[in-house]
């Protein structure tokens, strides 16, 4: 299988869906000729024209609202939100409007749109360009939330998102745009709500999202060298969440760490850990451990920024403690 970058994978997904369905279009800042600052959309405007790859002014609430209205009336907009941090600007249109319209209308109106945006720190972009804010939207009923962890997922989840009749928010890891992964030439979709077992293992389960999947795979490598067998699971979508797959793994290994790049407190690790605690309680040898980003705004300086996100070493260290029983006695 050929290897392509996450960036190319997203580009292909959009191109394929735009070819398949004329109602699909993209709107956002500098999406056309510039192909976004990350160059993810390069070439699309050449193929589809400026009617379907629409440059907007810097009006996030405005073009999000326009997308909602467009989606309600027969098109399938893909909203390009340059940085995940700007989601704060579109919350009203996304959460008060898009998320609720189908329900409030008693099922009569649909809002089939995709917000594609990103997450991830350690790019030295400071506090307003480095956040991982997926927990916020996951909390709002009516929104689906996808977190691709490689080029393969980025393509398959994007295609599924575009075909979904509900508003979907996809957070790409902006540090991974140039990372390559095997992606089939043939068309494929990745269904929502189906977790992916990245690596099987028997001693401990590492549940990881987005950027943290590769961190946990690296941790699993470290652990493997020490004779500890770690299973790495990627839920791929957090709404819907493949609870069954997570529970199954937890029951098998009896030890779980949930790793995510959002702030730890009141983030998604609490939800996932709680569900496992609730539903696999008597299979657990230790409490489910959580590792999120530090509860601090993301600092600019490299000297501090790198401390704020979970690393493979830190995950491995915690896994080691859990497996050896050290954590058990602490609790």
């Amino acid at each position: 299988m050929r290897n392509i970058t996450l960036s190319q994978a997203v580009n292909e997904a959009l191109a394929e869906e735009m070819r398949r369905d004329e109602t699909v279009f993209i709107l956002g800042e500098d999406v056309a000729e510039a192909g976004t600052p990350f160059k993810v959309l390069s070439g699309l405007v050449e193929e589809f024209g400026t009617d379907r790859v629409i440059d907007t002014p810097i009006s996030e609430p405005g073009f999000m609202g326009i997308a909602v209205g467009a989606a309600m009336t027969g098109t399938r907009p893909v909203v390009d939100l340059m940085f995940g941090d700007f989601i704060f600007l579109i919350m009203d249109q996304l959460c008060n409007q898009a998320a609720k319209t189908h329900y409030m209308s008693g099922g009569k109106l649909n809002v089939p749109l995709v917000v594609r945006t990103n997450l991830g720190a350690t790019r030295r972009s400071a506090a307003q360009h480095s956040q991982s804010l997926h927990a916020l939207v996951a909390h709002i009923p009516g929104l689906k939330v996808a977190l691709p962890s490689s080029a393969y997922e980025a393509k398959g989840l994007m295609k599924t998102a575009i075909r979904d009749n509900n508003p979907v928010v996809i957070f790409e890891d902006k540090l991974m745009y140039n990372d390559k992964a095997p992606v089939p030439e043939e068309e494929y979709l990745i269904p929502f709500g189906v977790a992916n077992i990245k690596r099987e293992g028997s001693d401990i389960t590492l549940i990881a999202t987005s950027s943290m999947v590769q961190v946990c795979e690296a941790a699993a490598d470290i652990l493997a060298a020490e004779g500890i067998s770690a299973e790495v699971i990627d839920p791929r979508t957090i709404v819907p969440l493949d609870e069954e797959a997570l529970l199954k793994s937890a029951r098998k290994t009896s030890r779980v760490i949930v790793v995510d790049e959002g702030h730890q407190s009141y983030g998604i690790t609490g939800e996932i850990a709680s569900r496992i605690n609730e539903k696999a309680f008597y299979h657990l040898d230790a409490p489910v451990l959580r590792m999120g980003a530090m509860d601090v705004p993301v600092p600019f300086t490299p000297a501090l920024e790198d401390l704020t996100v979970p690393t493979a070493d830190a995950v491995a260290a915690n896994a080691r403690k859990l497996v050896s029983g050290e954590m058990i006695h602490a609790a």
Binding site: M72, Q97, G106
Partner: protein, 333 residues
Amino acid sequence: MSPAKKKTNTEDYLRMYRQMVRIRSFEDNANQLYLSAKMPGLTHMYSGEEAVAVGICEALTDNDRITSTHRGHGHCVAKGAEFKEMFCELLGKEEGYCRGKGGSMHIADQSHGNLGANAIVGGSMGIATGAALTSKYLGRDDVAVCFFGDGATAQGLMYEAMNMAALWKLPVIYACENNGYSEYTKTEEIAAGSIIARAQAFGIEAHQVDGQDVLAVNALAQRLVDRARKGEGPFFIELMTYRYHGHHVGDINREYYRSKEEERDWKENRDPIIRFRSWLVEEGLASEAEIEAINAEVKKDAAEAVEYALNAKYPDPSEVDMHVFTDVKHALA
């Protein structure tokens, strides 16, 4: 009454009259339901502003879209909705337009192109503009009308939407219902400068019109809708109007923000229904008897619809987690 060109077709005038009476009648009943504690929650009455919704919606087809506001019953009726489904919605009944899930503040009527009332002031500026984008994108000639109040002009979203509508020449008409108040505050206290100049600054052609004169409103709307269909949009209209009731049904003691004299003046001297009725009679387009017959018929329709809605059934409890997503019957199953 404005010197609008008389249509040869009297039917149009009588339909406009009837639609205004239907709105007034709907609101009188809704108010009654509230006062007799039969309606859950609260609501905002459109009475007094009928000529705005009717004048504009009569210039539209079912394919044209509107977005509405918290004060949305008038738009809903004017765009073609039925009393029965509307009262059912207000009372939270299964047969309501939204199966009781939306209520007064979210009433929508997809079949007639009403994309829904909105409880976020200014919240539909983008939505209406997006509906216009769809029209242009799909090569159709539908237009979209965004109704909103003077208070909503304070929401930044409006300027973002207008900018894009102007840049992309979208077939959208921004209809600002300036009823002089934003809740309990006079418009001049919350709006600096000139409302229509704000639209003009974006290169949008803007008009001010007497919102109590249904013919003036309709004539302007016809003209702008036609031009918007041809790609000459967007447009902006400021409609000078007045709400008769309080901001919401419970807003009874309101003399601290507006006087009874002012209210009386608008009701007695500028009522859109009374004015239009006199004109119809003066012009010989309808007799007093015909007018009374329309009034009576509407009144009866409304009473029957209320009765029906009061006896209609609530949605089944199992509906609570339906319609969260389109593809999942029960989200929490």
